[in-house]
Symmetry: C2
Subunit: 206 residues, 2 copies
């Protein structure tokens, strides 16, 4: 009997995607996870827009030139990217690789389409689908976003309706009900903890 | 969008098996889980031996006649059974069915062979493999069992060696290191919690 028999699992670092329709509270959950001070790497997005006052490169965003961004696209070095108001935003693979190589779990906040992209790129990622308690709660939250016109709102609701149907593509579901953010965060932490105890670990390569 | 879209997972009751070689602390973990007062059903074993003073039927054991035990065997109503010092011991399926039907998670402590039997009977069971930190810890624990002769001890070590190789048949691995029982129990609770968040739940039928 060698000690290697006792290594019943290799604590592989995980790639965790927090996703769900608009309004379910993805940012709230990720911010609350950050406040816990756990040793996660939270993914930083690259953007071609200039920094706003107070924004720190590598912390709020990676601020890159359009040339640099074009190079990342060409080399397939972005997990996903999009044009937002004439500026590019995307997630560089390299930081995820580096964080995983250092043994850290990587946490990524993505919309439902982005989560599906990660599933294809890294099938071993842990996909968590956030949702609200019920329809009323989701609509109330979408309503609160004051920047939306009535037209935007009905578009967002229609999109959420379609996205809810895609929950089956995910591994885990977590309800982020009004006033119960802590419960949702505890569920996410339990999921991450349990995944580290899998006998057959998920080995992510990007 | 109906509210049923928000039912992204059905919180199915789980069948959880706590297993591992002799000496890893299966009983300690199960006793500690009991003390947490969580709404689990802990499986009670049926036995043909007479109750000892203070033992309560249905709590310590189900005390049944040999005729009744024979009937349970004949009808395939035992998850597993064994002869221990001329008395029969086994786990009746019916209590597991009833507990699951009432919505309770069922926790079962089994040796490695018993866990393999459950995997065949109920592939959707959650199998947790307990182990020690290393070989030294396991041998020290087996050594402490004063009832064992030196011959028994070497047999137990040989058995443990074989059983450790079967960890790959399990879903999760948990280290129950000396003085760190709470950590093992927390891991088991996180695993159970996470399993309840699976989008595609394990539906156990027995």
């Amino acid at each position: 009997m060698t000690d290697s028999d006792f290594t019943i699992y290799q604590p592989q670092p995980l790639l965790i995607v927090i996703s769900g329709p608009s309004g379910v509270g993805k940012d709230s959950v990720v911010q609350a996870l950050k406040r816990r001070g756990l040793p996660f790497h939270f993914v930083v997005t690259a953007t071609t827009r200039p920094p706003r006052p107070g924004e720190v490169n590598g912390q709020d965003y990676f601020f890159v030139s359009k040339e640099e961004f074009a190079r990342l696209i060409d080399q397939g070095e972005l997990i996903e990217y999009a044009i937002v108001y004439n500026d590019y935003k995307g997630i560089p693979k390299q930081q995820v690789r580096e964080a995983l190589a250092s043994g850290k779990d990587v946490i990524m906040r993505l919309d439902v389409q982005g989560a599906a992209t990660v599933r294809k790129l890294a099938p071993e990622a842990v996909l968590i689908f956030l949702t609200t308690q019920d329809e009323q709660e989701l609509i109330a939250r979408l309503n609160k976003r004051k920047s939306d016109s009535a037209e935007d709102l009905s578009l967002r609701i229609a999109t959420a309706r379609q996205e809810l149907k895609r929950a089956a593509e995910f591994d885990y579901g977590v309800i982020n009900a009004d006033g119960r953010l802590d419960e949702a965060v505890e569920a996410v932490i339990a999921i991450i903890r349990a995944e580290h105890h899998r006998i057959h670990p998920r080995r992510v390569s990007l």
